[in-house]
Amino acid sequence: MSTNNPIDAESEKSINDEFIYRIVHDLKAPIRGVQNLVQWIKEDFDSGDQQAILTNIELLDYTTKRIHLMMDALKLYAELDNMDDPKEDFNPLINIGHIISFHLKGKQMKHEITGDLNTVVLPTKKLIICLREIVKNAIKFNTNRHPQLAVRVLQSNQSITFHVKDNGPGIPDYIKDQIFNFFTSTEPKEGVEFIGAGLAIAHKAAKVAQGVLEINSNSTGTEVKLIWPTE
């Protein structure tokens, strides 16, 4: 986003510099891991330690997969600014239903989609990306014994509002002011799935579309409010 105000341009540059610093810092760790693992495999090959070689090869496998996921997430984040996003039919019940079904992957979770469920015509690519990341988080991190997900849709002349509410453990206080940062996760770095990019991508998709993404969370669950302009 360009600006003619020198003060805005300066603070924008500073935000971008900090973003790049953080990304490089977070990518260095798994890349360093790959370098170390390759060295250890060579050492263990010389010493004939088969078990250690197998363990290190498995770690190498998951670390490279993790790097791939991180790079894919960064690519998508970068593409959001200039993404080709033609107007298409969007039916909340069908489109959100598909996203929920895809990400449940056999997990038992009570879910419902209510509200204004008429089909609207609007640019859908960024919207679906945003909803996908919100729903994915709501499903993935819900450790409640009886997990539930409720999506309410409200339509007006200018916008469509989604309330996505879960009964999960909520976002911990220590991370609340960082949830839209890249590679910020409540999960340890050993997971291939949990790279901590979803909400950063959702936040940017909403911002580029001139929408609003708000999150309220406590120990009884999280509610995400997404306001998406239709004009």
Partner: protein, 143 residues
């Protein structure tokens, strides 16, 4: 032969990255550091291992601490143990990738024994651990 200081001195590594945990284990082995090494994957787990109900016996007198971890990061953990009468004198060495001045200042304000940047190469890390070992053998650490 295991020396006296290795027999009595437990070391706690607080680190969530599996490969970095292996890094430390291998570097210890290659430097013949035989001290019992205990692993916690975040600050909450580490506190559980240090406090009275679920202790690591004897209590680790050296902690190697990463900063960026889930549930409770390194700085929050450090603040917690510095506020605890039984744990406040534990020698803590930060072992991190963070070159951020804010983290360095905060760690030194919380009286770390050292702030070490994880080296890029394993050879350099081996050398770092060897230097730490020499330092630990030289210094007196309170019980």
């Amino acid at each position: 032969m295991i020396s006296n200081w290795q027999q009595t001195l437990n070391i706690l590594l607080v680190e969530d990255d599996k490969v970095d945990v292996m890094n430390v284990k291998r570097a210890f082995r290659q430097n013949n550091i035989n001290n019992p090494l205990f692993i916690a994957s975040n600050g909450v787990e580490a506190l559980g291992m240090l406090k009275e109900n679920y202790p690591v016996v004897p209590k680790p007198r050296i902690i190697l601490l990463d900063i960026n971890m889930p549930k409770m990061n390194g700085i929050e953990f450090l603040k917690t143990i510095r506020d605890n009468d039984e744990l406040k004198n534990t020698s803590v060495f930060i072992l991190t990738t963070s070159n951020d001045d804010r983290d360095k200042i905060e760690a030194h304000n919380l009286k770390v024994a050292g702030y070490i940047l994880k080296p890029i190469s394993y050879e350099k890390f081996l050398h770092t651990v060897a230097t730490l070992q020499s330092y630990w053998q030289l210094i007196e650490i309170p019980d």
